[in-house]
Subunit: 660 residues, 2 copies
């Protein structure tokens, strides 16, 4: 092991394993996760050349092979618990998305949730056994987040009792669904249902797209891969153009809405039935943000402990770059953020399960708040992690730009979360809608509950007083006081947005235009609300931590997270009268102290995330710190090194030399 990184571990003031157990949920969960990881990592069927050395077609090929193996093995080993499936799959795929993901994660669940019992009898077993390989085709080339705009049509023809599916325009071509291009032979297609001369809006249809015997596209089906992307090289995100494709009436998924043989349409009992899935996926993304950022932090912090550069003191050896205050200032707030998001992810997961329980008991009361919270926190955490990964990459200097660092991969794999499952700005505005509604209720004296309950206190707390006469509430060393400050900042910005919205309405703008004209303020308000929730849940988590060493280091991280957030939004806190001018420089000084304090534990804090080398796949982030030897070995395997002289020499350089 590299002596620098060994020393870092020896100096740590807390037990790394104890923290890993907290992150996993319990020692038992850590044990089981590690067991599954070992199962996968040692499995010769999952070994393959580094994906970075392959062409896209080879990467797709390798991924299909692995997915096929994985399905066989999970059934062989009887891995069926959702958490264990997640662990196993994540380990096989090393956090990447693969061609069969939508079949497993969307197509099968959609059949379970939206097909009639008869349809399930007909389709589920072949789908479970991959005779039917399916995807979920919603997004169109011209239509994303706003699903009412989708153009694909399914027109009922009572004479043959069939639906006729069409892509009437270029913009209506289905675009982006994973596994659609080459892998799937069926798709759940979301289309506007037309029957008896009326359009009844979006419904789901099971559409065969490739021949089940030879995988050739069926007549009327134009299907293919949408081409290379920033990442997701293993996935055949696809397009689908339907030209008078006919499917039997009972290929419409009719658990809720129905079309009778004569074409009579029967409405579904409720239109909020898919609400839960959306909330679930967005809540899960919060955890993904934590994972992606914590991987990037692991790589950057371990590398910073090994890398020596420049000189602090003339004539002395080059110091570890982790000793530079600027490097600490880049990385430690991100490390704190990774922890904050991890605990937030746990909270979201628990909340989701609790509320799902309530819903099963017929209590829907908390669903709107969870919906609003999951939308905003999805946006808040993915934006922060997205930017943070790149800071980590650039903090590794040139080597961060090499694919051997794995940081480019982490980024390109993660960054779509800012867009999919609801574009982030749209998500922030959904949360804002809930905040403004809650504000309006509270200002009318109705009591609001949950995370927005601070709006009840608004009348008493945030009066328009001159700053000088307002008491400064913040003790910058006290986490409870800082949570309070974030709360009051959120309250002020929600109020400001609501008042600006009101002012636009008074300028006689329509409701919609007024909303648009206030949307910058609304996004800011959502952002501040989410920030408050993150700080609050981080601090709440500390109350559950019994281990003294771990509690101490996590408290330092929480304090850094809170103070760094204030430093980045000083204006907000000053304007809300929550901070005096001298406190701003105190925060700056205190931040420096916290950075120095965390220096000792930085490597142990990333060790506690417990990513094995095989999972990180990063020369820079190796546990043993033997960065350079490994980079050199990796580079030698580069495809350009397969021959000493590249063919282009004979084709172009030698002829050029003879011409000049």
């Amino acid at each position: 092991m590299n002596p620098d990184i060994r020393k870092e571990r020896e100096n740590a003031t807390f037990n790394t394993d104890a923290l890993t157990h907290i992150l996993d949920g319990s020692p038992e969960k850590t044990r089981r996760r590690r067991e599954i990881e070992t199962l996968v990592i040692k499995d010769p069927d999952f070994q393959h050349e580094d994906l970075n050395f392959m062409s896209r077609s080879e990467r797709y090929d390798a991924a299909v092979k692995k997915s096929a193996q994985m399905i066989l093995k999970m059934r062989e080993y009887g891995i069926a618990d959702p958490e264990e499936i997640y662990s196993y799959k994540n380990c096989v795929q090393r956090g990447r998305t693969e061609p069969l993901d939508l079949h497993l994660g969307m197509f099968l669940p959609t059949l379970l949730n939206q097909a009639t019992p008869e349809q399930q009898d007909a389709f589920f077993t072949p789908a479970w056994n991959l005779k039917i390989i399916g995807t979920y085709a919603q997004t169109e080339m011209g239509h994303g987040t706003h699903i009412r705009g989708l153009e694909t049509t399914a027109t009922y023809d009572p004479s043959t009792q069939e639906f006729v599916l069409n892509s009437p325009t270029v913009t209506s071509i289905k675009w982006w669904p994973g596994g659609l291009g080459k892998t799937s032979n069926h798709a759940v297609v979301l289309a506007q249902l037309h029957t008896q001369g009326n359009c009844h809006g979006l419904h789901a249809f099971l559409v065969p797209i490739r021949d089940m015997s030879n995988h050739q596209p069926l007549p009327g089906v134009v299907v293919g891969d949408i081409g290379p992307k920033f990442g997701f090289d293993e996935v055949d995100n696809g397009f689908l153009k339907l030209e008078n494709v006919r499917i039997p009436r009972d290929y419409m998924l009719m658990k809720y809405a129905k079309v009778e043989p004569d074409g009579t349409y029967r409405k579904p009992p409720s239109d909020k039935l898919t609400y839960g899935t959306m909330v679930f996926i967005r809540s899960m993304i919060v955890g993904e943000s934590a994972r992606a950022l914590s991987k990037a932090c692991t790589i950057a912090i371990r590398y910073s402990a090994v890398r020596h550069q420049s000189e602090l003191r003339a004539g002395e050896p080059e110091p570890q770059i982790l000793d530079y205050q600027t490097q600490q200032h880049k990385l430690f707030p991100l490390l704190a953020t990774a922890y904050a998001f991890h605990f937030l992810g746990q909270f979201m997961s628990q909340t989701y399960h609790r509320i799902t329980g309530d819903i099963n008991q017929g209590d829907f009361s908390e669903l709107p708040e969870l919906h609003a919270l999951s939308a905003g926190l999805k946006a808040f955490t993915t934006w922060a992690a997205n930017g943070g990964i790149e800071v980590c990459r650039m903090a590794c200097g040139g080597h961060g730009y090499s694919r051997c660092s794995s940081l480019p991969d982490i980024y390109v794999t993660f960054t779509p979360t800012c867009t999919y499952e609801g574009e982030n700005t749209v998500m922030m505005l959904q949360t804002a809608r809930y905040l403004v509604k809650s504000y309006t209720q509270a200002s009318k004296g109705q009591k609001v509950s949950g995370m927005v309950s601070y709006l009840n206190e608004l009348q008493q707390r945030i009066q328009a007083q001159p700053v000088s006469s307002r008491p400064t509430v913040v003790d910058i060393n006290d986490l409870t006081s800082l949570v309070e400050a974030y709360k009051l900042r959120a309250a002020r910005l929600v109020e400001l947005a609501a008042k600006n919205l009101q002012a636009e309405l008074q300028r006689r703008l329509s409701k919609e235009d007024a909303w648009n004209q206030t949307s910058i303020d609304l996004v800011r308000a959502s952002h501040a609300h989410c920030h408050y929730v993150v700080v609050k849940m981080f601090v709440a988590k500390l109350g559950e931590v019994a281990d003294v060493g771990v509690h101490s280091v996590l408290s330092t991280l929480a304090l850094l997270y809170a103070l760094d957030g204030i430093a980045q939004h000083t204006g907000d806190f000053l304007l809300a009268g929550l901070l005096s001018m001298p406190q701003v420089s105190q925060i700056s000084q205190r931040t420096k102290e916290l950075l120095a304090q965390l220096r000792t534990n930085a490597v142990a804090l990333v060790d506690a995330f417990d990513y094995r080398d095989e999972m990180l796949n990063s020369s820079l982030g190796r546990y043993d710190g033997n960065v350079y030897e490994h980079m050199f070995e990796w580079a030698k395997k580069s495809p350009l090194n397969r021959t000493e002289v590249h063919e282009s020499y004979y084709k172009y350089l030698k002829p050029l030399q003879s011409k000049l």
Copy 2:
């Protein structure tokens, strides 16, 4: 042409061509640039398949082919003026870096600047005619920005009159030089010179690395490609390990330092001789920041004019996404930034040439400031553009993630500028060193000049007064007043950093530790100084613009740039007493008005950058706005679509189906 984008152009309030001429420098320069572009774009030798569809080896191959063609053609056409070479090369390479770039841009100039006349006679002609293909090998695996740390050795052996070159450790292996892996047969190697038992520091040696007859690596030379990266797929960035490689004495570049036949070392007359090149390259990068960001803005703004999404008013058609305030708030400040950086790039280029003239006259007085300025502005502009490109990409929703948008390419090609030619944080600290030095001089009553001359006024202007009694100087509608505000903010932050540094010294820290403990503040001070320079030069440029329509729209952009910067650093301006609390909400209101005002001219403002479709290579950014048709055509060419059924179906999916 798409009717939406046509309408945008019809509504523009200024003459696009007039603005293009300002950006190019003159109507004549625009004409000549377009002429060269046409020459390249129509040249059948420069046509090739979309690079996105190729493997890395194919991309490298295509790039070598193109570079070879380009060299022949430039000589054929007699393109020799540096600006025209730049134009032609940029157009052939579409902004990418290619394998022969270091030969042309570093190796040949190094021979010219550092070789003796005899060496030039021996080496320059073969190098000019590409018999010798060279690269510049400085960076090592373990050593980057801090060049004194380099480990490669060149030990003089007087018995044979040779230097013996060695890579004594893994960390000393040369790593990253472009064209080193497969293309070059020579390298200028920077190595620690040892002779007569003494080490004389870093010197440049011309080292043959491949046989000139067959391109095989020479004995003792281990050379190859460092493997795939985030981008730069066309370049064979390489490694070089030297094992007792012997070169004749006169292969050391000896224009300045010399080693006599007996091993006697002769010092160079000055050690600042490469100062100018560094300053020149950093100044050029400012212009690169403008170009990369303006390309990204062009794509995102044109696409936002074509893309319709969601609903503002129930029942009405989906609006152009450019109508959303949040979209404007993402893109228009970046558009303003692109213009600001463009004018800054012009200023840097002019300043560089002016000062080079002075230096040739023996006047070095302005060099330190230019050095400091180019370091900080390189960092300031590359960071801003780097983040801005990604904002543009994500503002295009899912389609921004497709390689057909070109946005991923722009990002991965640009992002290394944050690291190379001096890591950005290190650059900011270099500028800070100059600022602190100037502050110290000014506070002793010595007059400092140039961009830091505001430090002279510091004593009078920024007294520690309570905020309430200080006059608020800013008129938020007046550009001159805003420049003043940026200036005073910079002054305050320079003073703060200098005082914090002083305080650390008084705590008896060593000079170096005190510097490190203040480095967060020092970077902030540099950032504020650079921000001031950018605003100042943008406003200064307005004074040169005679065209009324162009002047008006550029003034709006400048105002948006200045106000948006304040909004992002509200705390700084409040703490400096430059802004009252009510002004903060006025700025927010005014920003919204400016966004609405710029909405009309947004497309025309990106049209004025005058990037041809062939240069942008983006389906989303097409001039005609026919985005979706083009995306569909592009996708059909994806390599995965070469067969209807991918081979993985036969290899894995069909067998899997039979096993389940």
